[in-house]
């Protein structure tokens, strides 16, 4: 080693054999110790800057009305009020829509289009004062006819975005010539995200026109974009930062724009820092939710249960603006096949405009609604033929090398659903349990059991191709410690942990060496939403690219200085081997610094192979597919419609997992969230378009006792992504949510028992106890078994 590069660091020990926190290891969430001690800082916990003001939104009380006048004089005169802002105070565009279509004002001015639409903002010394002052506004409305649900929207026929059609072959001819045909309609409700941390933003004005916004958002770059448009300043004047969110689930992909833009506007106008945090009830009334859908289907099939032709029309309640309803309804169509091959198929979407809150992204992004419809069709065929629905499912699975083209003309190249389902069918004892359940039901008039196995095949990539890019920024300091930043956001899913594992793996250093830092538009620009399950795929690859740039420089430096070939330089756990010599990674960093080697690099990644032509309905929107399946067993009380989930077995494909324990957490949590959507979570609007389930007292997400009594969750073994993803792992954020569909169809199976499984139960979602009881009563009436013998004579 040349003398000039003398180092204070001792040489590495030969005993170092492994890297703690490298990829494919169980690794706890990077913030776990701070979560449990209350030290993890969320936006509302940030140290408050001196002079902070608090803002609160004034909301529309009508679903659809012209605003004749809005009297804010009492609001302005209320104690503590510093400013009251309306659309007139917006220097730039009064539009916060994700796609800048001009259909989603920050503040409604002349027209209100849903109850809870923001009309003005009060800025006051305290949040309590701002909130009280809001109630003093007097609006004079001229009421217009509201369109509140899908039934009314069907008639009105107005769309928020152009629908899409996927077509392959001649579906109507195939249905007409099929030996068996049926048609029907399935309805499913929406879902509130119920992130535990509500929406929040804190804006701090800077020099000139600058503003820094701490926003609980999945999409800092879009918040930056929207704030810059609202303030009429260039993007370089706006910095958006988020260290972590207290849950998001898609609800902070576009919905955080409003709160950030309003806070930034108030900061601009008052010249003081401003925080905006709505109360939970207001949050739920202001922000969009998962779309409720009605799907009209017609299918032709043969006596073996094989689908020959199918048509489906997907009607979605989108609310008053487009938001991302276009891509969401598209994704519903992309998943209307679930795991099934449709020989001849036509699928269309109708993103309907309504005078309700603008529905938005939610884990699965339309995919779950597509799959619920696919599984209803399967169930209908099974009842028509007297088959086990599982056999109908298997009869229609995508093939290998044949029967493998989707309705959007992408070939399914990585199909493993048949292998996965067979494994789960055996490991869960599905067939034996199904027989046992039938026997149980025969002896139990009141409590009936049901079981269902449903598969999931979920396409991974944003269908908006430009979103499939990511950037990262990695610094190695001259003490060997590493600073990691990327465009992805942490909402609990463990993205920061996984990307840090990638960096640890690349440099072969313990993960403790890697400092994970807050996402900020100032470090990594033009980032995509952390959404579409793509966080690790995109940001992991981008961080890897940054690490590799630095590694290449280190290798070149070492080769030159030690006079060895580049392939004689090797990153080993905690150290670097150069020829026959080994030094610590820290020593290498120091030596490289002394030799003026740049130790900071950006990394970039774009997903290969994908392309999509929406107008034609053709392309390869997805890089690959993630697969899974679940078996759910339930017991239903036939007198009340109440139920419990007795047992769930899941087998899920995460490729070669970056972090199996975190992936398992995503699967368990996603399943329960999907189950909640289809069972107890009911959004209920009254006749005036007011959401009446706007808090946890009325909107019920699963509680601890609702989890499956027995819950067996396994990752598919020997699974390796067929595509070259980050260490051959697969995305895991969204796909498991759709495993919850098995609960709906298990309930359906239990319901069907009251008519001896002779009639299709057609249980719509959410399957609240009320809906379950209604289905039971309807089947009993149709089967003529309305007076069951309940007790021994």
């Amino acid at each position: 080693m040349p003398d000039t590069l003398n180092t204070p660091h001792a040489p590495a020990k030969d005993t170092a054999t492994g890297v703690s926190g490298a990829v494919h290891q169980d690794r706890r969430h990077d913030s776990a110790h701070k979560h449990v001690s209350g030290e993890a800082v969320y936006v509302d916990d940030l140290r408050e800057p001196a002079g902070l003001l608090h803002a609160y939104l004034g909301l529309s009380e009508r679903a659809h009305a012209r605003v004749r006048s809005l009297d804010l004089s009492a609001v302005r005169a209320a104690p503590g009020v510093a400013a009251v802002l309306t659309a007139d105070d917006v220097p730039g565009a009064n539009d916060i829509g994700s796609m800048s279509l001009g259909d989603e004002p920050l503040f409604a001015r002349d027209l209100v289009q849903h109850v809870g639409q923001p009309m003005f903002l009060v800025v006051a010394a305290t949040r309590d004062q701002a909130r009280r002052a809001c109630k003093l506004a007097r609006a004079d409305y001229e009421e217009l006819e509201p369109v509140l649900d899908i039934t009314a929207a069907r008639k009105a026929g107005e769309l928020v975005f152009k629908g899409m059609t996927l077509k392959r072959g001649e579906s109507s001819a195939a249905i007409a010539s099929a030996p068996r045909r049926l048609k029907g309609r399935v309805a499913m409700g929406g879902q509130d995200h119920f992130y535990l941390e509500g929406q929040i933003a804190m804006a701090i004005p800077g020099e000139d026109e600058e503003v820094t916004v701490h926003s609980s958002t999945q999409h800092p770059s879009e918040v930056q974009h929207v704030v810059s448009h609202v303030l009429h300043v260039p993007s370089n004047a706006v910095t958006v930062e988020v260290r972590r969110m207290g849950g998001a689930f898609g609800g902070k992909e576009t919905q955080s724009n409003l709160f950030a833009a309003a806070a930034a506007l108030a900061a601009r106008i008052t010249g003081r820092p401003v925080k905006l945090r709505p109360d939970r009830d207001d949050d739920m009334c202001i922000t969009g939710k998962r779309h409720d859908f009605e799907v009209d289907y017609e299918v032709g099939f043969d006596e073996t249960g094989r689908i020959l032709g199918i048509e489906g029309e997907f009607l979605a309640r989108c609310g008053f603006s487009a938001d991302v309803s276009g891509p969401i309804t598209d994704r519903a169509l992309f998943h209307a096949d679930n795991s099934y091959y449709y020989p001849d198929v036509t699928l269309t979407s109708r993103p309907l405009k309504t005078n309700t809150v603008s529905n938005t992204a939610f884990r699965g992004f339309g995919g779950p609604q597509g799959m619920v419809a696919a599984e209803r069709v399967i169930e209908e065929i099974a009842y028509a033929l007297g088959m086990d629905p599982l056999d109908v499912r298997k009869r229609n699975f995508y093939g290998h090398g044949e029967r493998d083209v989707t309705p959007y003309h992408q070939t399914v190249e990585d199909n493993i659903i048949d292998r996965l389902v067979e494994e789960l069918e055996a490991s869960s004892g599905y067939r034996e349990r199904r027989a046992a359940i039938r026997a149980h039901n025969a002896g139990n008039p009141l409590l009936r059991k049901g079981i269902a196995l449903t598969p999931v095949k979920f396409g991974i990539s944003f269908t908006a191709t430009q979103y499939n890019q990511a950037g990262a920024l990695v610094h190695v300091y001259n003490d060997g410690s590493i600073h990691l930043n990327h465009g992805g956001t942490e909402m609990g899913q463990g993205l920061f942990t996984k990307v840090a594992q990638v960096v640890a793996e690349e440099f072969q250093v313990d993960i403790e060496t890697v400092r994970i830092t807050a996402t900020t538009t100032g470090k990594v620009p033009n980032s995509s939403a952390t959404a579409a399950s793509s966080g690790s795929d995109l940001n992991g690859k981008a961080a890897q690219a940054a690490c590799r740039t630095i590694k290449e420089r280190l290798v070149a430096f070492a080769a030159e200085n030690w006079k060895v070939a580049p392939d004689e330089v090797e990153f080993l756990p905690g150290r670097v081997r150069i020829g026959t010599e080994e030094i610590t990674f820290a020593a290498m960093a120091h030596l490289a610094y002394m030799a003026r080697v740049p130790l900071s690099a950006t990394g970039f990644y774009k997903t290969p192979k994908i392309h999509w032509d929406r107008a034609k309905g053709q392309g390869r929107p997805f890089y690959y597919f993630a697969y899974g399946a679940a078996v759910s067993e339930v017991t239903v009380d036939t007198l009340t419609g109440e139920y419990v989930v007795d047992r769930v077995d899941i087998l899920h494909d995460v490729g070669k997992s970056l972090n199996p324990i975190l992936d398992k957490g995503q699967i368990e949590g996603g399943f329960v969230q999907g189950m909640g959507w289809l069972t107890m979570e009911e959004l209920w609007w009254d006749g005036q378009g007011r959401l009446r389930t706007h808090a946890p007292s009325t909107y019920k997400i699963p509680a601890c006792g609702d989890r499956p009594r027995i819950f067996n969750v396994n990752l598919l073994e020997n699974a390796r992504n067929a595509e070259d993803t980050i260490f051959r792992s697969k995305a895991v954020g969204e796909p498991p949510l759709m495993l919850g569909i098995s609960v709906l169809y298990a309930l359906s199976d239990a319901v069907a028992s009251v008519a001896g499984h002779s009639l299709p139960p057609r249980l719509d979602a959410p399957a609240t106890p009320e809906r379950v009881l209604a289905a039971i009563e309807r089947l009993r009436a149709e089967a003529g078994t309305a007076q069951p013998a309940l007790a021994p004579a």
Partner: protein, 491 residues
Amino acid sequence: MRTSIRFLFGDELREIGEVDPTLTVLDWLRLQERRTGTKEGCAEGDCGACTVVVGRLDGERVRYEAVNACIRFLPTLDGCQILTVEHLKDAAGRLHPTQQAMVDCHGSQCGFCTPGFVMSLFALYHGAANPDGQAIDDALAGNLCRCTGYAPIVKAAEALCEGRDGAPADRFAAEEAAIAAKLKALQDQEMVSVGSGGRVFHAPATAAQMAQLLLDNPDATIVSGATDVGLWVTKFQRVLGTVVHTGRVAELRGIRETEAGLEIGAAVTYTEAAPAIAALYPDFGELIRRIGATQVRNMGTIGGNVANGSPIGDTPPALIAAGATLVLRRGDERRSMPVEDFYIDYGKQDRRPGEFVESILLPRPAAGARFRAYKISKRFDQDISALCGAFLLTVERGTVTAVRLAYGGMAGIPKRAAAAEAALAGQPWTEATVRRAMAALSQDFTPLSDMRASAEYRARVAANLLMKLYVETTDPAAETRLVGDRSLAHA
């Protein structure tokens, strides 16, 4: 009279003279103390993110209870200890066993609900030994998590309780005597009055003080656990003038067992009342297990539930079915009435100005009488009933000799089903009789449709619950229950 409130914050004594009578514990923590570990998730006591633990003197011991800081008024914790998630690490900065179990079992994802879960687990850790699965579920039922699906949190709870070896072994256990002594020093018989400018919080120490206060302030708002009044403040931003807290009144805090039954003081919490009530009416105990969740049951009182007059409160139907009576006091005058007579109309009770509910008398069930209560909601735990049916039935030699049927959620008030009772009384206890009673219910009730259920569902299930009662009382082998102690169906 004392004009300040005093409590322990951790082991530190706090004495506050100027305090808003309805300042919530959460706002005090987050806004005044800037202790931001405790989170606001809903501000209505339904999500548990704000859970803190309250230590109360219990003889020589300290009893730790999880409560919702978001709807608990700070002055109501006079004489108590408040523990938040920030108090749990030891002096060396090591995580508390509850915190470590959550880390080890991967019980946090986004982490926002986690401090609340940690505090519920802390209360569990300091609670009864060897909790079973149901006890663990009950301890966690008031904490919502949207990320994990709960499995790893339950695993953490199991690991924690297994690792406890009978008794808790943390510094709070080690310092219990010292904390008890500090709490003891805070107990007095003084009336506490804090506040000014027409906004005053009173916490009388005796029933006589309470009675006089209400004579002097007939418009005062009486607050016990604030599980409803808390929402008036956090959701409707109501400004309450004079607040009278029942929680320090010794006479209202006791349960007396007499020949006739139980005399339950109005300020006895659900948690405190449950064992005694369950001993007389096992299924009433099961109903209480389903009211709110642990935090709410640690705050809410039977007296408050009755006096509040909500048509969807769960104890009134059960009390009515059991034939309970209510004792009202005004000054030194007392009067009593059957619980059902207290309810006049929606939002209107037979409570005179200056009067307060002093106690509830729950009679022992007659020999051979069977009591059943059924709470119907979208979710089993921490949910408000769509409807609730409570029944007391005596069948002798195959004939119904006594019957009381009471429902909540079916009318503007909790109410007996007179027509259905008439259809059963004196009749043979057969399926045909039950079906006649089911049909008669339509004369008793015209329920409403709302976000919890439609009128049709309420009417149908109200009737079906009579069938459930019939099956449970006639077929000892029938499986009828999905949750709770299944043996109660045939008790």
